[in-house]
Symmetry: C2
Subunit: 404 residues, 2 copies
């Protein structure tokens, strides 16, 4: 008789966003006249920019002609895209990354969940707390996290690095030694980030203890302050200890288009074994390349027109972020993030829990956000709002919250 | 110090198609005047049909308008596509499959490699020999295959089910009891398949011994004979023992578009645990939905226009298959497949090995095929040609082979 992967049974209850969807649907069913504004899930709302649409249409036309038709893509991505990535995301920042260290994929969520597969099952992981839930959940499925304590909401074998207002949301080097360190910077959900010297300290630490850093830079395009690194490879020595995950979802509105990439430097090794070669083998065996038309759209992200149009789109969302931050501060809330990321992280008022505030906001303001506790135990007492709504909805939601 | 997944070190040498590419490149470099015809890799060459192009353009336009923009897709796929799949691939064949048993993905290669993740690491796998290499390789990475014997080219813990001319390419029930049985029918690479009563015997066996069948039906659209099942769910009892993988790559030319789906029936359980729920959890954690525009293209595959145009496209490839088969038979080769699949499987002449025939064909006819031994030890002495070339190239290649 076949058996199942028993680790799946350890995953607690339902996924955060499913629970939110259920609560919102229940409320809507009981109150059909209420117009709900959703600032919960981190999904974009603005249409693709003209340069990207043009690239997509052109690529579709190519697929309609035998002379320009494209079948299987190279497993690791087309050179035209990998070269554009190298030039615009790395070379101009002085990072020495080459095209054969870039692996194009169908998005950073898949990569961030799959990357653990090339590591040993005995590796100890460390995560910021709170953080994007996929890092922990994918390691639960792989059996690396030990047992779950429903009381503390913690896994026995995971090293949690609290990021709260008490430490200015800067993760501290852990007391126990980790093997794999997940850093999401700018952070989802807190919207906060760290300086280049602070990240350099992490790189030095990882090289010293022999840990690998899995660096999720999905929100890099939203960085507005100087001295905040856009890539971990801006730090000395990162190529011997860090993998970087990048998404086109947030900088180019590709949540429904699906495209991302991962950087695995050739210098990153375990003994003699190159992780670059391992990830290439994983890509070649368990993935079949990102679609041609999506890769052409990705190339357009880096064209002069694309960059100008996307700068404007990011500006649109960041004006939302600034408006939410200012408006909530004026209403007396303690607010973080929103400067280098499209997320606003607020302290729930009084002694309200994250879910109590969620219910209150849904019922009294008809606004949906995300309870901080859904991102990790140290997220309790916080709440996330996204700047990805339309400007009209964002302002309307803000007014409702202010009038509570 | 972090460790790696040591199973990767067990994978022998390079991937089949990389070796072929290297040999062809070397030959081309030395003989730049020779025009090589590639009938090796199973990649399509004909452009997307008009109904699909129209759907792609329309979906791209929708992505350019805030009112019709689509962000994150539902993890499991849009209802419009899942409903079309249910209607056209199952209901019309009398198979009782519902939309919530369909999981849309970025292609059958990913699914066929990922599906093993929901099973226990102690499960014993059985594969047809020869077969598509991804089933074994993905299980090697997961540590289910034991040790590799380079002499016999076999893994110690894999049950091989030889499919050769001696048994008419019909896999026999194994003597050792497997937990997971991979069946690819019509088979890649042999192009052969089995009848409905023969498949029913496999379903009965799986239910009896408590094994799960992972049924890869990627080439289903090429079936031309009666009494050959298009889906395993045409067999009684398959819903309690079988998962079915489907691709849009070969029936609609989507190798570079990327779209597929997997069926996990709700009745398929291990004790009380529903595999449908497990796969949903895997999809929700490690995947972020197939792109909106691809799913609209998938919907067009099932429209009246799409179906008519694709019937014609499949006819085009199958005329190639018939021409290769007839031409090779006339030249004295022993040939299989090509009736219910776009692959021709031929016995190498005399006592030539698969790779000897590969080299001979490359050097004397400048035609590239795939050595049968690359698909498993019982593929030795066979050779695969695909019908996916253009008609002109196919006929030209055939003439060259005939004149050897």
């Amino acid at each position: 008789m076949f058996t199942i992967n028993e680790n799946y049974q350890k995953l607690p209850g339902s996924y955060l966003f499913s629970t939110i969807a259920k609560k919102v649907n229940d409320y809507s069913a009981k109150n059909p006249e209420k117009k709900i504004i959703r600032l919960g899930i981190g999904d974009v709302t603005q249409p693709l920019v003209p340069a990207i649409l043009e690239a997509l249409h052109k690529a579709v036309d190519e697929m309609g002609n035998a002379k320009t038709f494209h079948g299987y893509a190279p497993d690791l991505g087309y050179d035209f895209l990998r070269n554009a990535i190298v030039e615009h995301d790395y070379r101009i920042r002085g990072c020495d990354i080459t095209a054969d260290e870039i692996f194009v994929s169908d998005g950073a969520k898949s990569d961030s969940a799959n990357i653990q597969e090339i590591f040993g099952s005995n590796n100890r992981i460390a995560v910021c707390d709170p953080v994007y839930p996929v890092y922990v959940d994918s390691n639960v499925m792989a059996g690396r996290t030990g047992t779950y304590d429903a009381g503390t909401e913690r896994w026995s074998d995971v090293i949690y690095m609290p990021c709260t207002m008490e430490n200015d949301f800067v993760p501290e080097l852990p007391k126990e030694r980790p093997d794999m360190i997940y850093l999401c910077l700018p952070n989802n959900p807190t919207g906060t980030t760290i300086t280049k010297p602070q990240l350099q300290a992490w790189v030095d630490y990882a090289n010293q203890v022999g840990a690998v850093i899995i660096y999720d830079a999905a929100y890099e395009a939203y960085i507005s302050e100087e001295n905040v690194p856009h890539s971990i490879y801006e730090c000395e020595g990162a190529k011997t200890c860090a993998i970087e995950l990048k998404s086109f979802s947030k900088n180019a509105g590709f949540t429904g288009v699906r495209l991302g990439y991962t950087v695995v430097p050739k210098e990153l090794k375990c003994g003699d074994v190159s992780l670059n070669g391992m990830w290439a083998r994983r890509h070649g065996t368990k993935f079949n390349g990102a679609p041609y038309i999506q890769q052409r759209a990705g190339e357009a992200v880096y064209s002069a027109e694309g960059r100008a149009q996307l700068k404007e789109q990011i500006g649109y969302y960041m004006r939302n972020a600034a408006a939410i931050k200012k408006g909530l501060q004026e209403a007396g809330y303690t607010v973080f993030g929103g400067v280098n990321a499209p997320y606003i992280w607020l302290k729930t008022p009084g002694k309200m829990t994250s879910w109590e505030f969620f219910d209150d906001l849904l019922e009294r303001a008809n606004v949906v956000g995300t309870p901080g506790s859904g991102f990790g135990p140290s997220g309790e007492g916080y709440f996330r709002l996204t700047a990805f709504g339309s400007h009209e909805n964002t302002i309307a939601a803000l007014k409702r919250i202010q009038s509570l």
